[in-house]
């Protein structure tokens, strides 16, 4: 950690603050966010530890952590932080940075799911669940989990065989313009 301290020029904290729009540097390590986090027991780093590592500029530790992909965006931390830090937005920002900087993703399932979901939206305007699930399974190689649920869901009319399309062209244009907006100036 001493090594990290010596190298730290505050670049990471500035970048995360810019992306998340919240004052990560205000965190005074009370750990309230971590105590209420439902996923905490499964995380390799707790949310308060992530805040501290961002202060310390430990980019690799943070971007390669599983925790940023395990966060369920439940906003319990954001609601409770005494410093008013939007921790869930910090998690979003770190996910984006991890993809942008191609940090080795130890838990890429979250990223693969996001890509499959958004590509479904881009193609159809709405999520086509069956297609999205198939795409995710191919991307992640996690082919067999939950296959037992599919017949049950089809039987109950919960999955459709066909996408319901809506405003496809406009949605595609929005995706393109959003990507331009997100490109670093």
């Amino acid at each position: 950690m001493t090594e990290v301290l010596q190298w730290n020029d505050g670049a990471l904290v500035r970048e995360v603050e810019r992306l998340s729009g919240t004052a990560v540097s205000a965190c005074f390590q009370c750990h309230k966010c971590s105590t209420g986090c439902p996923i905490g027991p499964d995380m390799d780093l707790l949310s308060s530890q992530i805040m501290r590592l961002v202060h310390l500029g430990a980019e690799q530790d943070v971007l390669e952590s599983q925790a940023i992909w395990l966060c369920a965006s439940c906003e319990a931390c954001t609601t409770r932080c005494p410093q008013g830090i939007d921790i869930a937005a910090v998690m979003d920002a770190l996910r984006m940075l991890a993809v942008e900087r191609k940090a080795a993703l130890p838990d890429a399932h979250g990223e693969q799911f996001n890509r499959s979901f958004l590509s479904s939206v881009r193609h159809h305007g709405r999520v086509f669940e069956l297609g999205m699930m198939a795409a995710y399974k191919l991307r992640s190689g996690d082919v067999f989990s939950d296959v037992d649920k599919v017949p049950q869901m089809l039987g109950k009319g919960k999955l459709s065989f066909w996408p319901r399309r809506s405003n496809v062209k406009q949605v595609r244009d929005m995706f393109r313009r959003a990507q331009q907006e997100d490109e670093p100036a």
Binding site: P38, A72, E129
Partner: protein, 340 residues
């Protein structure tokens, strides 16, 4: 009351029963809803974890369509609700976000369209007195754990129709139906939401904890207002039982299904056949007295009788989890001497 209905993708597929029951209840209560033509996905969690611009633009596009209808928006999905409100909040409070939304959607938007959740509409717009007066079959004796989950009440600056840590809207609504909302501590704990796809093991642990606690507190069923909560607690209940031990079969209703039952609507009109844990046995046990006189509340004729009714209260154990998700002992559930 007229609303522009934003169903969202889940309500077209996995949660069609939520859509059907919402529309049936609105119709029965004289709330006029019209679907927003040409609505698109709100982006949900994947968009805000991938691109801030997309997470802003997709909801704004839908809000612009609703503005053309000149009505406030009604949603049932808690996730769509949070995304639409978040985008509105950003556009209203940050001129830069407003400009960005206009650039991406190619249309200006000022954040003027109000967005409401069905629970807010039933409890605060329509009012509990109107609901109470419309009840045809009181759900007497039904003990319900009202589960709000994460996004219905959080973050409070954005959603704000109820308390973030101790919401009561659903409990009050359930009481107005003649059922009994139970006190329990996990009202706003997260079920793991979209981790359902990527980390079913975590969701299984969380849903086991939630259902076990609901039973422990005396509930016979759970009411939810979010498609993800419903899938995680209902469809994944069998997995939770397999992975984490004993758990009584616990039906998980959409709140609109419970309201519909009390309004006298049929199981078909409410899509009850879509539930994985069948509620038939539970509903058969209920006296469900037909209300002949309107506005009868806490009448001694049926409410007291319902309280005396012998009930199969489940008993068993709830595992306690230590850090790392390991099980660390159990506590009994079901009140002492509960099954008479």
């Amino acid at each position: 009351m007229r609303y522009a209905f934003f169903p969202g993708c889940s309500l077209e597929s996995t949660a069609w029963d939520f859509a059907r029951s919402t529309q049936a209840v609105c119709q029965a209560l004289g709330i006029e809803v019209e679907e927003i033509p040409g609505w698109v996905c709100c982006g949900s969690t994947p968009a805000h974890g991938t691109s801030a611009s997309l997470a802003l633009a997709l909801p704004v596009f839908n809000l612009q369509k609703a503005r053309a209808m000149g009505r406030p928006v009604l949603t049932a999905c808690a996730s769509c609700y949070a995304r639409l409100r978040t985008a509105n909040h950003a556009v209203r409070h940050d001129p830069k976000e407003k400009q960005r939304a206009a650039r991406i959607t190619n249309q200006p938007y000022d954040g003027s369209v109000e967005v409401h959740h069905i629970l807010d509409v039933l409890v605060n717009h329509l009012g509990l007195d109107v609901v109470r007066a419309a009840v045809k079959r009181r759900l007497s004796g039904l003990k319900v754990a009202c589960y709000y989950g994460c996004l219905l009440t959080r973050p409070p600056e954005v959603v704000a129709f109820d308390d973030a840590e101790h919401p009561t809207a659903m409990d009050r609504l359930v009481a107005a139906l003649g059922a009994e909302p139970i006190d329990w501590p996990y009202k706003t704990e997260c079920c793991g939401a979209s981790l359902s796809m990527t980390h079913a093991d975590i969701v299984s642990r969380l849903s086991h904890r939630l259902v076990a606690m609901a039973r422990c507190a005396g509930a016979a069923c759970i009411a939810v207002a979010c498609p993800l909560c419903q899938v995680n607690l209902d469809m994944r209940q069998a997995d939770a039982r397999k992975n984490h031990g004993e758990l009584p079969e616990t039906p998980v209703f959409y709140i609109t299904q419970l309201v519909g039952l009390a309004l006298g609507l049929s199981p078909e009109q409410l899509g009850l056949n879509a539930l994985s844990v069948r509620p038939d046995g539970l509903l058969e046990q209920l006296p469900m007295p037909v209300v002949s006189q309107q506005g009868m509340e806490n009448c001694s004729c049926c409410c007291d009788a319902a309280a005396e009714e012998p009930r199969n209260r489940s008993r068993g154990t709830v595992p306690i989890f230590a850090a790392g998700g390991r099980e660390n002992g159990t506590v009994p559930f079901g009140r002492a001497g509960g099954s008479r």
